[in-house]
């Protein structure tokens, strides 16, 4: 339906347009969204646990986790509230390297990301491995601020950004695809921005 009187914000096509998924607009800032207050997690209190169901596989403290191989990832990110930001520069530990350090292969096809504030979000395991995702520790070379999920957040840049859980403290392998916090509250179970999977029921 054409909206009366609404004129196009479209400019001549550029290389940038091909990087913006449907329904998104380009944002220069870095908006902050979260369901509750910002947790202030001190690195001395921080830990990260890899779990299979309720059973811990391995736990790292901040020093141990920072001793794992650091990888740089510069990616476009896409928030379900319709902003896209280009070339966000992160450094962190690939999920592959976490698994290698724990000496395990992924035991199940589904993973739940767990956060200090109780937030959860589900991601198929294959979307986290093969270099696709990391636990980010630095943004633009500096520690990630609490607003943006520091000390550590998940980074799964090819899915809508609510999947990149802030204040991460663990990854839990699950037998089934278990909906997380927003997935239980009307958001899509998978969240591919290129297929515009924003809300429950989107194809």
């Amino acid at each position: 339906m054409v909206t009366r009187g609404f004129s196009s914000g479209r400019k001549p096509p550029t290389d940038a347009d091909a990087r913006i998924p449907p329904g998104q607009y380009l944002e220069q800032g870095f908006p902050v969204l979260s369901a509750g207050p910002t947790p202030r997690v001190r690195t001395e209190d921080w830990s990260f646990t890899l779990k299979h169901g309720p059973r811990p596989i391995k736990t790292w403290n901040w020093t141990e986790f920072n001793a794992l191989p650091l990888t740089k990832m510069t990616r476009d990110i896409h928030c379900v509230t319709a902003w896209t930001k280009f070339d966000t520069a992160w450094q962190g530990v690939l999920v592959d390297d976490i698994l290698a350090d724990a000496g395990v292969e992924p035991p199940t096809g589904f993973t739940l990301a767990l956060s200090f504030d109780g937030y959860t979000t589900n991601v198929p395991t294959q979307d986290l491995t093969a270099g696709k995702a990391m636990v980010a520790l630095l943004y633009e070379g500096k520690p990630i601020t609490p607003d943006h999920g520091g000390p550590a957040r998940l980074l799964v840049p090819h899915l809508y950004f609510w999947k990149s859980a802030k204040w991460l403290n663990g990854l839990q392998f699950t037998e089934r695809d278990e909906p997380g916090f927003w997935e239980l509250r009307g958001y899509h179970i998978y969240g591919d921005p290129w297929r515009e999977q924003r809300y429950t029921g989107d194809p």
Partner: protein, 248 residues
């Protein structure tokens, strides 16, 4: 996975039936759905505008009306000069125009009288909009749940829904309005003329008969960060605080 009715577009056309200026920068648009639209207080909608060349812009807006208000839904939209959707509403949209909406959306920043209270609401600027839906729901259902709203605005004339809020307050039926004006002197005896802080939160909670069961905070990111921290410093457990941040 497919459940529920297929093939129906999640978007529906709504017709603007009334436009009411609320403050110099905020105007309410009343919309008539074309098919049944059930929602909860605190939820939002996505609005989509389409240009003749197919270009689309979409933004999220909170619903200001209570579900009790009937079919019509009210969006109170602040004009952002560098935006592309809010200037359309403020400068072009007229009664009779149709726009496309999707929703209702959001299942976390919601409240109903059956959820109980007391309720502490903290809004900054247009962040009051989803809180207004909760306050109106309470009034429409003649609920006895105690509610305090701490509403921060720059000046008296930018207090959205001011007359209606003062009217609710004056009923003395368990709803208390506290205004915090950041760029003007307070006009009501118990109001403040400063930014929200922990002391203000502590004093405002004394207006409730018991500590809040839920706190809802909505506004700009900077406002929500400061207000949520003020609540925590005033002793409200973080797990009771629900936030909604207006993106940029």
């Amino acid at each position: 996975m497919s459940d529920g009715p297929a093939a129906q577009s999640p978007w529906q056309t709504m017709t603007i039936s009334r436009i009411e200026k609320r403050t110099p920068r905020v105007t309410s648009f009343f919309l008539e759905p074309s098919r049944p639209f059930a929602y909860r207080a605190g939820q939002h909608v996505d609005v989509r505008l389409t240009a003749p060349d197919g270009y689309q812009a979409r933004r999220s807006y909170s619903i200001a009306s209570a579900p009790e208000a009937g079919e019509t839904i009210e969006l109170a939209i602040e004009r952002l000069d560098d935006g592309e959707v809010s200037p359309f509403f403020h400068d072009i949209a007229a009664v009779g125009d149709e726009v496309e909406l999707r929703g209702p959306l959001g299942g976390h920043f919601v409240w109903s009288d059956s959820d109980g209270g007391p309720l502490l609401l903290v809004g900054g600027g247009s962040g009051v909009v989803p809180l207004m839906a909760m306050i109106r729901l309470r009034a429409a259902r003649r609920s006895a749940v105690p509610v305090a709203l701490v509403f921060s605005a720059r000046v008296w004339d930018e207090v959205i829904f001011r007359d209606e809020l003062i009217d609710f307050h004056d009923r003395r039926d368990g709803f208390d309005l506290v205004l915090a004006l950041t760029r003007e002197a307070a006009r009501r005896p118990a109001d403040y003329s400063r930014r929200i802080d922990a002391a203000m939160m502590e004093q405002s909670m004394l207006r409730l008969p018991a500590p809040p069961r839920f706190a809802f905070v909505c506004g700009s990111n900077a406002f929500v960060s400061a207000a949520a921290q003020a609540l925590i410093d005033a002793g409200v457990p973080a797990g009771l605080i629900r936030t909604e941040r207006y993106g940029v």
